[in-house]
């Protein structure tokens, strides 16, 4: 809402050019508390990401390699769509498949995945992200 964001811009970023005249700002003052309260409940719009982590998604090559391994493990037909968001469970992977996938990834990338982490790998993207994190840690 334009009004809402105008209020926040006036209060929190005085350097921004306020688009409202003083009259309008005065009018809105009574709504300020509610607006701030509302703001606190919502995330700040610009940080619109699922994970508040600085490192962004894994490299496309990593995702690609993960997809290849998953496709091979699950013997997926060529027409099955496989993206970074694909969930292993939706592709027909059971627990043995998931563990085999993790093992293949370990061999492919030369890393070791702890049990706690392997339990949290549910999508291709999550696998790729974890791999890059572990590869980085190993290189360091």
């Amino acid at each position: 809402m334009a009004t809402f964001s105008a209020i926040t811009s006036v209060i929190f970023a005085p350097s921004l050019k306020p688009s409202l005249s003083n009259n309008v700002i005065a009018e809105r003052t009574s709504n300020l508390k509610m607006a701030i309260g509302g703001w606190r409940k919502n995330r700040f719009p610009s940080l619109k990401t699922n994970r508040f982590c600085v490192s962004c998604s894994a490299k496309p090559e990593t995702v690609q390699k993960v997809c290849e391994i998953v496709r091979r493990q699950l013997a997926l037909p060529a027409e099955t769509e496989l993206t970074s968001e694909s969930k292993f469970s939706a592709l027909g992977a059971d627990s043995l498949d998931t563990v085999e996938i993790v093992m293949s990834l370990e061999e492919e990338f030369g890393i070791g995945v702890e049990e706690e982490n392997s339990q949290n790998i549910t999508t291709v993207q999550e696998a790729a992200d974890l791999i890059e994190k572990l590869v980085e840690k190993k290189a360091a």
Partner: protein, 362 residues
């Protein structure tokens, strides 16, 4: 004993009801078409002939045959063979039993065979639990499920405060060719089923060295025949999975390489490799390197050859906390079912062959 829901009488809450329809016909409808998810309903012409004066869950499906809860010392095991469920209309009616979230999950699954077994897994758990409500009828569609903080599924009983939910525990497992649900009362249960012909993509010993305990690796390494080695691997995998699922705290709480499962000959001391000839005499035990105390002595196992095609492992907690009493068998009843169509008790038949563990089939 085969219970066919055909013409007959059914006593429900004091009402005498006469079924006029032979419900077995449901299974024979739609001659062998490929299962598809177009949810058109077949004309319910046949169903309207049913004169049923009891409250029906959906207008089309007959009531489930109720079953008494297992006693404290018993385990019930139900399974469905997806290949035996061919009727598209039945499958369509099954999908009506699912919650919106389950339907959504199903929608996103890829692969017809896999989708079908996933559907049957939800239907099996809902209908199985609904059977046990002998005091008041429970609609399998209305059951709600939740997960413990560790992620283990359980029933979310929602009824009013006069209702005391049964201390029922369940666990499911499925492959694309078999769907199973185990039920106990008072004690946790974990099950795992795996196709006997399952092959690993990785090398067995490399996999075992990475994930299994040193003693288990030693045991597998000692097997020279690769086919026997593969079979023993799969059996061990199902037992370990069943254990972790029974404990219910997830993979990370009981990493596979921190515990050893082995067969032990009862009353003779010493340890023994899985011995198929003397299955009645060998007990399966779990030992934990993390926890050498009593916790691991509280678990009882059974390993079965199911329907000639699968290994099935069952793990339950022993009732008495004194644990270690050796020689007490797991009392087990097994049913093969097509929910709403047919139930067949198969324990004690060729469909259920004990491989290992102390089992008494009922």
């Amino acid at each position: 004993m085969v219970l066919v829901l055909g013409a007959g009488c059914c006593f429900v809450k004091g009402y005498v009801v006469e079924h006029l329809l032979h419900f077995r016909l449901l299974a024979k409808l739609s001659q062998g078409r490929m299962f598809s998810f177009v949810s058109k309903r077949l004309s319910l012409m046949m169903m309207t002939k049913v004169c049923c004066f009891q409250r029906n869950f959906s207008s089309a499906l007959p009531p489930l045959v109720p079953v008494k809860l297992p006693s404290k010392m018993e385990t019930h095991f139900w399974y469905v063979l997806p290949d035996e469920v061919k009727s598209e209309s039945l499958l369509s009616q099954y999908s009506e039993l699912l919650s919106p979230r389950e339907k959504k999950n199903l929608y996103h699954m890829q692969g017809d065979q896999f989708k079908k077994s996933a559907l049957l897994a939800r239907v099996l758990v809902r209908t199985t639990i609904a059977r046990y409500q002998t005091n008041c009828q429970v609609n399998p569609r209305s059951l709600k499920f939740k997960k413990t903080i560790y992620g283990k599924p359980e029933v979310d009983w929602e009824n009013g405060d006069k209702w005391c939910p049964p201390p029922l525990h369940f666990n499911i497992s499925h492959t694309s060719s078999l769907v199973a649900c185990g039920v106990t009362v008072n004690v946790p249960i974990g099950i795992d089923v795996e196709e006997k012909q399952r092959r690993l993509k990785n090398k067995i010993l490399a996999f075992a060295k990475r994930y299994f305990s040193p003693d288990e690796v030693k045991l597998l390494t000692a097997i020279s025949d690769p086919e026997i080695q593969r079979q023993e691997f799969i059996k061990l995998w199902t037992l370990k999975e069943a254990y972790v699922k029974a404990v219910g705290r997830g993979f990370s709480a009981a990493p596979f390489n921190t515990f050893t499962i082995r067969a032990r000959v009862v009353k003779m001391g010493g340890f023994h490799h899985f011995d198929t000839q003397h299955s009645e005499a060998s007990e399966i035990v779990v030992e934990s390197s993390d926890d050498p105390e009593n916790l691991t002595r509280n678990w009882q196992f059974a390993l079965l050859d199911l329907a000639g095609s699968h290994y099935a492992a069952i793990c339950i907690e022993k009732e008495n906390s004194a644990g270690g009493e050796a020689g007490v068998p797991m009392r087990l009843t097994v049913w093969k079912t097509i929910p709403f169509v047919e139930d067949e008790r198969v324990s004690g038949t060729g469909a259920v062959v004990p491989i290992s563990g102390l089992i008494k089939q009922l």
